[in-house]
Symmetry: C2
Subunit: 470 residues, 2 copies
Amino acid sequence: MTDLSFAQRLADTLGTDAVSTSADEIEPWLSDWRGMYKGKAQAVVRPSTTDEVAACLALCSDARVPVVPRGGNTGLCGAATPDASPNNVILSLDRMHAIRSIDTTGNTMVAEAGCILGNLRRAAEEQHRLLPLSLAAEDSCQLGGNLSTNAGGVNVVRYGMTRELALGLEAVLPNGEIFHGLRTLRKDNTGYDLKQLMIGAEGTLGIITAAALRLYPRNDVRVVVLAAVNSAQQALELFELLFERGGPRMQAFEFFTAECLDLVLAHVEGMRAPFAERHPAYVLIELADTVDETALRALVETVIGEALERELCTDAAVSESIAQVNSMWRLREEISEAQRADGPHVKHDVSLPIEAIPAFLETAGERVEKHHAGVRLIVFGHFGDGNLHYNLSRPSGAPRDFFAQHGEGLTAEVLDEVARYGGSISAEHGIGQLKRDYFSRYKDPLEIRLMREIRKVFDPHGIMNPGKIF
Amino acid sequence: MTDLSFAQRLADTLGTDAVSTSADEIEPWLSDWRGMYKGKAQAVVRPSTTDEVAACLALCSDARVPVVPRGGNTGLCGAATPDASPNNVILSLDRMHAIRSIDTTGNTMVAEAGCILGNLRRAAEEQHRLLPLSLAAEDSCQLGGNLSTNAGGVNVVRYGMTRELALGLEAVLPNGEIFHGLRTLRKDNTGYDLKQLMIGAEGTLGIITAAALRLYPRNDVRVVVLAAVNSAQQALELFELLFERGGPRMQAFEFFTAECLDLVLAHVEGMRAPFAERHPAYVLIELADTVDETALRALVETVIGEALERELCTDAAVSESIAQVNSMWRLREEISEAQRADGPHVKHDVSLPIEAIPAFLETAGERVEKHHAGVRLIVFGHFGDGNLHYNLSRPSGAPRDFFAQHGEGLTAEVLDEVARYGGSISAEHGIGQLKRDYFSRYKDPLEIRLMREIRKVFDPHGIMNPGKIF
């Protein structure tokens, strides 16, 4: 059987409308948005129903054709970009974007994998509910990708990762069988919880076609604090105080250094420094509640007053309006864009035991400086989850291709230091192609062996997203 | 090799102190606490370290000797009771009860599997932290059993099941290899999350030896509401109101019928009816917070006032002291004991989509009555999680062995009705031996096949807890 006849069979089964095979049509699907990876494919398939996904996978399985699932193409590790095999079929669920149900009594939403996250958030909000998953790419990324990478974002400290929000999944196994696990139950102890394997599997175990998600009460009352701190140690002590007093209201605890703020002020229009002085680092804390702004504001003021008195921060500003909430958040959210504008850089999405962050920052910084003096550390992230985006920008005056020569060596230094503290080389971005080598270096061989065997159980012919994770 | 020489080898490896082989010593380990199951064993092994657990499993694996893990023996499905093979080795981790660390900055606790849950809760409390897992058996059950059954309890509506509290696991695989997954990270997206398989596996994939658990801020401010309702539908509407307004403070939403309260008042000494009138059903709601009792009380009073006005309940009492909190809780907590005192009965631990509870109660009740008139429904449970303990007591005047003849038929009616509403035949108790047949009847064959193959990956010789789950 030639490739042409296989593409023809796909078109015969799914309809020509759902299958693209011309080079022009395929081209935009072959690379990731950052342009780091580029691969090949014989076809792009865009089914409209779960049954069509099943039919597609059954055909691919029979013909041993590799399948590369692609969501909103917002990933940072190349997991949704095909490898060099011209035989690949790229599978997009962008036509499966129905919200099948929203239940405000059971507090669940059942949505198809091709839904854009931001649309789901807005749909929940209209029903006076909160879908707490929130991240920078939310108006492009798709639910299927969020689940397949177990996406994190800014509210994990309160609501957990995507995993914690998924009550049930519908998925198609590589052989085309449909996994009917779209349960909305809070409790279901009947054997192994198989959906947990598919969440975070980066499309290696099958195709998630829909999910049942937990909804929360909407928090209409929000207060943001921007605090200046002298050090990560001080931020840690501030975190402890907020955790104890703020309790369940604390829904973000973000951190960024002076160097991050410098980049934002330099590269993003209309931004203003939040304090008269430049401080070594900043913490952005959001507290939110269902009711009673006065009580929340009183709580925040008491706690921040105590923090200033106990010298757990050196200065602090409390938002007084939603406009201020948004402008404070922009200081944090624009860092990635500002770093991009500054030029080529290297990202490390790592996590650490929270209490180890200060020591890690010290020793990792020393290793980076020793490896190559002058490399600029752009460190920010979801401090309350132990998650740092430990990014590097080239030394001032260094050529734009600085990281072509030094990037890999620097990454090895950083990740080695992460491992030394018992951290993770991928907190929320996944492994994809980018961290495959580091995955095999740092993951326990016992775990890798179990993963390989589990992958074989789901995908005996190895057609699902080959070359990804391991 | 005879059995004797195998027991001898165990003793040689682990020390005679850790291995019991005499019939007298083994006897108490052969049955579950309710006396529903009884099996056989050649030895009881009580290792003191993870390495000793590993040595024991390596020996058992080599000799193909079945291993039955046993925690605090508080299970309700016979998962920790051996089958009829005289070859079984019972493995208890009761000597592994160290708390390895408590971290009040990272908010984690690392504890060994033999720890009694209540001790862990108290240890956290002393450090001003909350370990939210709370259930009736907490002063007997062990952490390893809690994890292996993914235990639920009264605070799931706020904090989730045991699964949600486990950040990392240390475990020994059936072949004696140690799984070093004792991470305390909040985020770690590096391949499949293998610990999720072991949680809830009822000891079929290996032995959990220790876990890293999440801790929360202690809630020193607590208010309990006992509300009288006319129906489950009314309870549901009350739940929706509390969910929207109470937000994250709502940490229990329990339900019980008038028949449950009758039993408690009849069989438990010193209990008093909470209202002058008898109402069809009752709801117990707990709200708790880190700070500010005045604000919490004001919130509760406003919300309950609205509930009464909107006729979402017919009467309500709000606790005014910790003594009242405790006495209100006793009305709910003593139901199991009161039903036991009333005589033989059948338990069903089921869950439903929350919004389906009223319809389920109606149609399931009709089926039970039709199957055998006069059977008394004793229905209570964790309503906010959709989890009902849908228990049956024999008709007044029926012989004590009524359920020997009618139990199975009645259970089939109940579970069939649960399945019809998309519910689960085991919400929080697990499958064990008790629900093995129902598991194979109601679980999708696709899921059972995947579970079988995964079990084989972990346990190729089938030595772990044979005959349990499937």
